[in-house]
Subunit: 477 residues, 2 copies
């Protein structure tokens, strides 16, 4: 972790006490569990070797969104501004945890299998080698993830960036190559271009945002190309010669200052003693259900370490359920809420509902697809939007949302309407006639509903049969 470690002392930890829960990791998931359980009156031991706040506060959402804003708004010394904001938040979260009456900080790395074999005793080893044992009724593992790295032939180590050292930059590199076409690259390409840097994105697959709709991929690529980002798709960096990147497709990129590796993240499982403790895990992370429950009683896992989610809101959502599962005798019944994802590139990208694989498995006879280009609605016209779109895949007849995706200036704010529709089973048929403010981008959603209604009402029996056939096919598949 490249951020400063303020390492506040917390002298209140009591090694003889049995805490309600030992929480390993003070990132988004761990903090939510700790603060939530403390709110129910429980004493919590919070184990953290690095900075309070985890990736989100220190090397993730917070500094990245602050950089996007600073770059766009023309703030002086944008990287310094971002570090100041981050360090201030980090200090406040540190203070809050140190001063919290019911959360006792323990500095060091936690390991589940304590010497006496009880997985609910966590062995914590600090950087100086000192060891303490934390006893608890419950253990919540929330150690997060780390960026996947790999060596690039001929590349100087000091040219290599990941999200963990990117925010230590003093200024935007004149030329940056970003490896991977996912959210981190798209967001940082947006910010670096705003700051005047040249940006190349190299993606091995045949498109960026490979887990999303292909129309999302082509739309965001076109939008960023229009802003000067260069894309190298279906290829990879073979080697560097000096500052020249040689790609597998024969292209060269000269005068490269920095290479941002953003090809994915892997769960931080090392040293947790999971295997000995009997906690099941795969290469994607600890196996946990939507309450955070693992294969071992009273051992929970939330956030990136599970591989179920890679977002702060995903970690929070599961963590809130874990709190209820631990604190309430009968946790409120209820399925997990659908989780939208957002990328804060400009335009933004957001999606919600079935994954592309789940959608592909949904019988084609029972679903339909609608798309509205922002250029075809009035706000797209006034604002000169060439690359932006709202797309939905819906159940026929009812118009229930299977999956929705948006590429638009405020996609992260618009997606909530689809989230709400999915959570409450409201289809396009029922929102037909909803009045969206003129001229908002959300009118594209109104147009989707119009298109759906027009097509459906022209042939109700056929649409009803299509829906029914889809449901049957799905049931007996």
């Amino acid at each position: 972790m490249s951020t400063q470690d303020t390492r506040p002392d917390d002298t209140r930890f009591d090694p003889t006490k049995t805490y309600k829960a030992a929480v390993i990791g003070a990132g988004s998931g761990g903090l939510t569990v700790a603060i939530g359980l403390a709110g129910f009156g429980h004493d919590i031991a919070l184990i953290e070797a690095g900075a309070i706040g985890g990736d989100c506060t220190n090397v993730g959402c917070i500094p990245s969104k602050a950089l996007l804003h600073a770059a766009h708004a023309g703030v002086d010394d944008p990287f310094g501004h971002v570090r100041a904001l981050r360090d201030d938040l980090n200090r406040r979260e540190d203070d809050e945890m140190v001063e919290h009456d019911q959360i006792h900080l323990v500095r060091g790395r936690g390991k589940l299998t304590a010497p006496d074999g009880d997985v609910h005793v966590v062995e914590v080893t600090d950087t100086d080698g000192s060891v303490v044992l934390v006893r608890a009724e419950h253990v919540a593992v929330a150690t997060g993830a780390v960026p996947v790295q790999f060596p690039i032939d001929g590349l100087d180590a000091d040219r290599l960036l990941t999200n963990e050292n990117l925010f230590d930059l003093r200024e935007v590199p004149p030329t940056t190559v970003m490896v991977g076409g996912g959210p981190i690259s798209l967001e940082m390409a947006t910010a670096f271009r705003d700051l005047g840097g040249a940006v190349h994105i190299v993606e091995l697959a045949d498109r960026v945002m490979g887990n999303d709709d292909p129309l999302v991929s082509t739309t965001i690529q076109a939008a960023l190309e229009a802003r000067g980002v260069e894309f190298h798709i279906g290829t990879s960096i073979e080697r560097f010669e000096g500052t020249t990147a040689h790609l597998a497709n024969g292209t060269t990129i000269d005068d490269v200052d920095k290479v941002l590796l953003a090809i994915g993240r892997r769960p931080r499982l090392d040293g947790l003693g999971l295997h000995d403790a009997g906690v099941e895990s795969t290469s994607h992370g600890i196996v946990a259900d939507s309450w955070g429950k693992t294969s071992v009683d009273n051992v929970w896992a939330v956030g990136d370490v599970t591989g179920n989610t890679a977002t702060t809101h995903g970690a929070n959502s599961i963590a809130r359920r874990t709190i209820r599962a631990i604190a309430l005798p009968i946790p409120t019944v209820g399925g997990p809420r659908v989780q939208a994802n957002a990328v804060y590139s400009r335009p933004e990208i957001a999606s919600v509902g079935l994954s592309m694989d789940e959608l592909a498995a949904y019988p084609t006879s029972g679903r339909k697809r609608y798309e509205v280009q922002l250029a075809d609605i009035d706000r797209g016209y006034t604002d000169g939007v060439e690359h932006g779109v709202v797309m939905v895949d819906v159940e026929r007849f009812t118009g229930k949302i299977l999956r929705a995706a948006i590429v638009a200036p405020a996609a992260a704010e618009m997606i909530g309407m689809f989230t709400l529709m999915i959570d409450h089973g409201i289809g396009l048929r029922k929102v037909f006639g909803q009045v969206h403010p003129y001229p908002s981008y959300s009118q594209a959603i109104g147009k989707l509903a119009d298109d759906f209604a027009g097509e459906t009402y022209r042939s109700l029996p056929r649409e009803w049969l299509g829906m029914a056939r889809g449901k049957l096919t799905k049931r007996f598949a």
Copy 2:
């Protein structure tokens, strides 16, 4: 009308024919009715003396949003850019109407009471004094509104702006005084400041956005003050001496180049022959229900001329219902949809639900108020938002939305979630747990739901009683 009048010829109008409908006015409401009825296969006579597209296309939403975008994006010659966009759209709408097989254009001013006394024969007088009669089964009046004007002592006429000549400017005036603190002033203050002009807003009432929540007023004023707009509240311009405005409170504003009058709009009723035709109207406009039905059978009124709405989406929404009422033997049952309003200042303002008067009449025992400042959510922190807020007034226990208002960068896109909640009777209690993308501004809505749930679950019986008492008080009020 200051815009060019391309005056396309339409030779297809047939004076011997009885049209399904004569639509007077080719603005947002009239075009919607005409195109919608034509879509059902009906022949329509569309009567317009000015430019196709009405205020929205020519002197309203379209040029104002285009100017806001051009000013913010730093487009060269922003006013020229706006005129080019507007004229292009105007030409396309003209062409569309001229070429439309089932919509026959008639140029001139329409009057309901034709010489033979049948209100369904419309007398159309063109600028050259020529008169034609249009016979139709239905007449839809959609003549819109005009800005309220009043004389200012000592002010040169060539310094006076309204929305009707504002977009003819060649560049931003160095100093503009805007009279009235409503949407037009707030939007144009945003654009003019972006273009480097000095802006003063003079509002006679004790706050801007007087029809909205007082917290909206203070928030948007503070946000615009931070961007350099000067507010003069609770006062008015008494007189001009040369280029100096003297306000009633003793303040003077020197070197004023332009004065934008934006104190309201009045319905365009003159010359329609409403009284003789027996169509009821007040100073607010033609009296019409939520289907556009007036006091005379088969005479309809939609849009600004009714005083029921002053927005394009409001006109469209009613017009869509009018189409059904005219074209379908049994119009689909269903109440009117709730209409959100939006102002595209920066930050934006949006609201939906009860009016402030209706809210005040709702029993206080049955409702509660929640507010979340954007500065208190993470995106507000990363983006340095000091002035922004989401507020709701809700029914106790259920959290059903009585009224919601937002001041935020993408308020016009966020408000749709509240619109959807109102249309479908979904309260804060049911959206508790909805996952909003991190870190979006919409997380403020999640926090509202958390605050509501925390308070409600701590005292379910009291909240239930409060709701019940509110409902009873309301019923017997």
